[in-house]
Symmetry: C2
Amino acid sequence: QAISLAVIPGDGIGPEVIAEAVKVLQAATATEAAKFELTEYKLGAEHWLASGETLSDETLAKLRTHDAILFGAVGAAPGDTRIPSGLIEREMLLKLRFSLDHYINLRPAKLFPGVPSPLADPGEIDFVVVREGTEGPYVGNGGALRVDTPYEIATEVSVNTAHGVERVVRDAFRRAQARRRKLTLVHKHNVLVHAGHLWRRTVEAVGQEFPDVAVDYLHIDAATIFMVTDPSRFDVIVTDNLFGDILTDLAAAVTGGIGLAASGNINMDRTVPSMFEPVHGSAPDIAGQQKADPTAAILSVALMLEHLGLPEAATRVQEAVEKDIAGRGTAARTTSEVGDAIASL
Amino acid sequence: QAISLAVIPGDGIGPEVIAEAVKVLQAATATEAAKFELTEYKLGAEHWLASGETLSDETLAKLRTHDAILFGAVGAAPGDTRIPSGLIEREMLLKLRFSLDHYINLRPAKLFPGVPSPLADPGEIDFVVVREGTEGPYVGNGGALRVDTPYEIATEVSVNTAHGVERVVRDAFRRAQARRRKLTLVHKHNVLVHAGHLWRRTVEAVGQEFPDVAVDYLHIDAATIFMVTDPSRFDVIVTDNLFGDILTDLAAAVTGGIGLAASGNINMDRTVPSMFEPVHGSAPDIAGQQKADPTAAILSVALMLEHLGLPEAATRVQEAVEKDIAGRGTAARTTSEVGDAIASL
Ligand SMILES: CC(C)[C@H](C(=O)O)[C@@H](O)C(=O)O
Ligand SMILES: CC(C)[C@H](C(=O)O)[C@@H](O)C(=O)O
């Protein structure tokens, strides 16, 4: 049977890293019964400039028919004034996450042997952040009054529901159970009382179903401290959309940078395609120069294979990456050299 | 003329560190014409248990009459179920910041020579975070519907006004002008569009008055990356209440820990007392054991002296702390030994 994969290379370094990710995908699944059928979609800042489309209902309907989506990166160069700031991020990337109800934004953080960390004494770092993906301050539920006057008021509303919180918390407990059985809820319930207490009560309630998982709580501010002083303490972190955004960039930094950070935007109900993307952006400054590290995109392929029920292929990708990383010297390699190396391991 | 100082030692290690801060204050101002008159206020979790008062209108009215407030730390032990979680923090600490309109939450981050950083290659770190103190997601403007049912909805509203943003942005520009002339706005305007654009437009507009200050922008997620990979890039950071809370704990961590992090809750209009407090909490686990480092409280005294127009006394405290830190060995000292040492330098 064929697995139908939508590929969205996007802008900047997106196409370069996705080319290598596809190369590794093909190598790792060559011996699998299931074959991948790829369909490329042009979307992103360049596409918007050329066509005026951010993400049309028609394109979204087509994307829905696939089994999964492999996503590169989107976004214009910071100085490019032709593109309203944040437009593509919201109307395309976030629109995809919200329309496809990607309620789990899965972001592993692992310090691979041989990778330099900015921390003096990083210890063993191996945790996953289960970031909520469809609620919180990301819902676009803000507004402004008397804009550009001395009386302007701008609001942003964080929306959190029992439905939304419970499903991501249960998923995080499941993942913790399959790992080192420790779950850390990160929030700020001493200040964000209503949202915070919903999260807290939900973790307590769902935790009854997982008596073998130890539960811990940290305020987001304290969590950033531990991220640099004791990251080994984390196994699975569950947190809201915005705190997860912040923590996962920091986690990527302490584990060697966003060149290695993979992510999955996942709907566990499997009625819609989940989407896999490197955490990094389109990096227009180095685009087209074969300078980008495709490892994050390749590790996102491993997450995708796992999600699609091909754990052996996932392990092949993961192990090839770890082998390649362990042998990395200081000599610079091109994007495709890294892809070739990993594909051949 | 006498300077009237309210002292709120608070809970846990608060009284211990405040005792040393007062000791150093007295030593550093012994030769000043202005004398300090101290009035102690019992407030915090212990006081609430004993009296039922978090912060009454009467106490608040008395506090208003002082020239400044020196604050230790408040908060119950995490396991203490007699005290509703976050109650003291909100009804006392945040109530003070909001009632006294402490719109500038000033938090310097400096890596002193001799202090170990968790970063392998920290470089020179010396910046200040100007955190907004009276708006954002801290306004308590959330709510919940259908609590404890599968249909619960909990919201948190971030409120941002032109008035509130402009005054803190202007203050940050002034501080940048007196330092290395670089201002970094940290927000997340690609997602939090309305609040983010108010901040952005305000920085652009106020920046016209400060043509000699270079302006930079970072999303909060990217800012946490730079905090561990290149903290030297920062001079003055201006940001909202929640992002500032997160960034300053991280900044404290990379500069040697919250044992050294001072802060001021400042109203520059000087019609109400400003409040100076260490960033750390009440640390009930080590309370009463003379184990707490009073340096953060002592550095908060330096910020207070600066704010009160006693720059020479502020410098004396700052220099005594730097001297003491440079000579710190590995031998543990008691809280009062550290205070004695700094007071005598
Ligand atoms: C581009 C942006 C909207 C996005 C986010 O905030 O989620 C990015 O930072 C991420 O973490 O994937
Ligand atoms: C105790 C808490 C309410 C407070 C805050 O969030 O502002 C603290 O974390 C701080 O940074 O001073």
